[in-house]
Symmetry: C4
Subunit: 127 residues, 4 copies
């Protein structure tokens, strides 16, 4: 039981798209085009998180597994997911995020294709 | 019945506006000014989706019909809707999205009028 | 009674700020820095809408009154509100939007201070 | 009791990141990279607000305390929080905002690292 944990156990991000390009061929990590699921675990138990990716024309891929410690936030870059397979660039996708304990998820993209960059962010859908 | 399908059957995007211009007269498809309804169908049944468009000064238009396969996402460009009529550019509109099964909808715009582009995104309103 | 009207009767936009400047001293209307409440009335009755503005250091101002026809959307610019008084520029504010029938409200800002412009948008809070 | 106060008492912003850099080494306050929690208190009682910050690799910090007067909005810059300690720049964080009375919270970032600036905003998660 996770007493005091805020949020929900199932979250959905219907938007998903990592631009392959960044304006600088060798940008620093902060300015590489990326997509993030900001996950907050306010509870006292670790959040065992499983992410499934959905695509336009093939079966879902996953689960990708990460752990968010108690009272910790993880700003997880989809760019960094590699197991079971990397997230394809320039490709429409969506994601479902399931956690063992309540969490809160916010979705952000930094798009640095042309200089300068553009940003978007929204609270995800909580089932 | 759609067991396991996440989301809701009715979604509303009160904002809607497709800029007529893009900064490059012949941009690639990714950088054309566009507006998207990102639809995720996590269930095992096809989602039969009907979209109605609302305007400032005339009766609603629709339904526009699309199908999102089971366990698939469709990032639907309003720019690509043509039947019963194209979506006018540089015109305020809004949309209601009704589905035969639960889905999740997120709204995104890429605005490439002046270089570089701007982005916005938000989860839609779920009735 | 508003049968079939989607949404809620009370909405809150906690963010509010209209930049005084636009990059072009004589921009066309589309590119002037502005803030919008996109209102959708899907019902068969007119929506009588009353907007109250809240500030950091003085009492609220309002109501500002607008009507959104049945099956119509109004992308209302806060820039255009003048009665009982104009909305001050470069000033933090917030707004509460009350309607006689259910509506859906989405908040958007176009900020064209430095070229090019930036955009933000989010679904408002529905009480 | 806060009769008429809109919103909720507990809000979560899972995204949090203040860029250390701004494009102008001496920008005016409006254009410094910053992150804001826009708080609206529509009620007739002061809102005693306590903010806790969560990080990736250490224990939470807080509470930071602010008061939002009755019928007032406070667009609180995380940049301005100093007690018990400043908010680190270029660092992932998240926040939980608890209030003595119902409030509404919207999250906005202005990122002016490269010129021009980018904006994001979303309604926060209401527990």
């Amino acid at each position: 039981m996770s007493n005091g944990a805020l949020g929900r156990r199932v979250w959905v991000i219907a938007e998903g798209y990592i631009p392959a390009a960044s304006y600088d061929p060798h940008p620093n990590r902060a300015m590489v085009s990326h997509e993030v699921a900001c996950i907050l675990n306010t509870g006292d138990q670790p959040a065992e998180v499983a992410i499934t990716l959905y695509f336009a024309d093939r079966e879902p891929v996953g689960p990708y597994r990460v752990t968010v410690g108690p009272r910790r936030t993880l700003h997880l870059r989809f760019n960094d997911l590699h197991d079971p397979e990397p997230v394809p660039r320039d490709t429409d996708y969506a994601s479902v995020i399931r956690s063992s304990v309540p969490i809160v998820v916010q979705h952000t993209r930094l798009d640095s294709r042309p200089p300068p960059h553009a940003l978007l962010s929204t609270i995800a859908w909580a089932e």
